[in-house]
């Protein structure tokens, strides 16, 4: 059986930076991701990032991804792509469907002394008549097609949801040559930053607030040919008589994300519901250790946030895992962590950030009250 000091699951910004820290400290580190490319969400993002220079502001997402990948290789991290973690078993045993160079898959079991779960978040779908019709897809799926694979998912797009993801992806679809027919928002006002919304409006795309989709229409070939929208009342219920039909061949859903919980559940980590963080999240302490000893979490899988916070949380998890194994002293680890925490606090400002910061702090308090000392792997 393969033995590793640190197994990092997920090669998004949080997993990459966790692996870099653990590798730099001297831990024998393996980074696993199911995708063809490392970088997680970063690889689909082609806009320049906000934030401070410590967080690569002004650099485009996919460039940050490549930079981190190189740093991970330099830190001696072993990287398996196209490899999916399919199970976590008692005693830190992990089942991986490993992708081989010849395209085949191999089932591998390995034992890791510490595990960092950085599997990110998945998109929420909303249900309406015809929502499974080919042509209805997540906004992230459309973004992956244009920005990573350089293929348009269709010509005429109706975007549902006006949070930052809906706004940014609409803009990027236009940059790729698609026509964004309209953006629908059920709430009375736009959810994302007004700079992003202004860009969309300037390009002539109508944003309809207090309006939602009620049906996807399928054409003869079975895929989307349009949609029916309706105004909604104060309780988000469609108002009869306000229906309108839009022609489109793609409907993209940007209706929020939730942390992926499959692996933390398998590892037996205690979960708690935190609405502002996107749903159920594994509770953790300041070292990002969960209720299970040696199992750490970082990034969107501990609450949906941003690439910058994911990068910093990943660092903390990597440092803590290396500390757990004795590669970094407790004093050094504490000092490194407190510097990162103060940076994280300054990142988590503004209307969205502050709410999440409060929620994270409440969650860490719950941890110190209920978990106190993490339990050994069951």
């Amino acid at each position: 059986m393969i033995h590793k000091d640190v197994l990092v699951i997920g090669a998004g910004p949080s997993g990459l930076s966790a692996a870099i820290e653990a590798g730099k400290a001297g831990a024998d580190t393996l980074l696993v991701d199911l995708n063809l490319k490392a970088g997680g969400q970063l690889f689909k993002q082609i806009h320049k990032f906000f934030g401070s220079s410590a967080h690569h502001s002004g650099t485009r997402g996919y460039e940050i991804g490549s930079l981190l990948l190189k740093q991970a290789r330099d830190a001696g991290v072993e990287i398996w792509l196209q490899s999916t973690v399919i199970g976590i078993f008692p005693g830190g045993k992990v089942g991986i469907e490993r992708g081989l160079d010849n395209g085949e898959k191999d089932l591998v079991t390995l034992k890791a002394k510490t595990i960092i779960i950085a599997t990110g978040a998945s998109e929420n779908a909303i249900r309406f008549k015809g929502w499974t019709t080919p042509g209805v897809m997540g906004a992230g799926a459309a973004q992956t097609m244009v920005n990573v694979n350089h293929v348009r998912p269709g010509e005429n797009i109706v975007m549902i949801g006006s949070g930052n993801v809906g706004l940014i992806v609409s803009y990027q679809l236009m940059q790729a040559g698609c026509n964004v027919v309209a953006l629908l928002e059920a709430a009375p006002k736009v959810g994302g930053y007004s700079v992003h919304a202004a860009k969309i409006r300037r390009a002539g795309v109508p944003i309809y607030t207090s309006r939602t989709i009620i049906e996807a229409l399928a054409g003869e070939d079975g895929s989307v040919c349009g949609c029916v929208t309706a105004a909604v009342d104060d309780h988000f219920q469609p108002v009869p008589g306000t229906e309108e039909t839009l022609k489109c061949d793609v409907i993209t859903l940007a209706t929020g994300m939730k942390p992926t919980m499959d692996l933390v559940k398998l590892a037996g980590c205690a979960l708690k519901f935190h609405g502002p963080l996107g749903g159920y999240v594994p509770i953790h302490d300041e070292r990002l250790e969960t209720s299970v000893k040696g199992v750490f979490v970082a990034g969107d899988s501990t609450g949906v946030e941003e690439a910058n916070t994911a990068l910093d949380e990943g660092k903390i998890a990597g440092i803590s895992a290396a500390e757990e194994l004795g590669y970094i002293s407790h004093e050094d680890a504490d000092a490194m962590r407190s510097e990162i925490w103060s940076r994280l606090d300054s990142l988590r400002l503004g209307p969205f950030g502050e709410r999440r910061m409060k929620e994270k702090k409440a969650m860490m308090e719950e941890y110190s009250e209920t978990v106190k000392v993490p339990a050994a792997f069951q």
Partner: protein, 108 residues
């Protein structure tokens, strides 16, 4: 219908892999070596990947990152292959999947 992006204001869209051919339901379509099978299908205007088991409803690209299995097809005789995260190679034979497609596994 989807098509390939040739000129992009930010991205360099030159394909990384060589031009190849794959066969989809008996028809040859062009692809680039190593790109997800699904990209080649979209570029060729193919939006339906499979039909569901019970109600025989069409499904296509939904998550694009290997999480939902809506894009599963029969690839070189193997059913349930997620085409959004499986790279294309020259001569691959891809078929629209009907239900669980157990028959294909038995035939081959």
């Amino acid at each position: 219908m989807g098509e390939r992006i040739e000129n992009h204001i930010i991205l360099d869209c030159k394909p990384a892999g060589q031009k190849i051919q794959i066969t989809v339901d008996g028809k040859k379509i062009p692809a680039y070596d190593g790109e997800p099978i699904l990209s080649a299908l979209l570029a060729a205007g193919i939006k339906i990947n499979r039909y569901t088991v019970k109600r025989h409803e069409p499904r296509g690209l939904f998550c694009g990152i290997g999480q939902c299995t809506d894009c599963a097809m029969v690839v070189d005789g193997i059913p349930n292959v997620r085409t959004c995260i499986t790279p294309a190679h020259d001569g691959m034979v891809v078929e629209t999947q009907d239900g669980l497609s157990k028959e294909v596994r038995h035939d081959s």
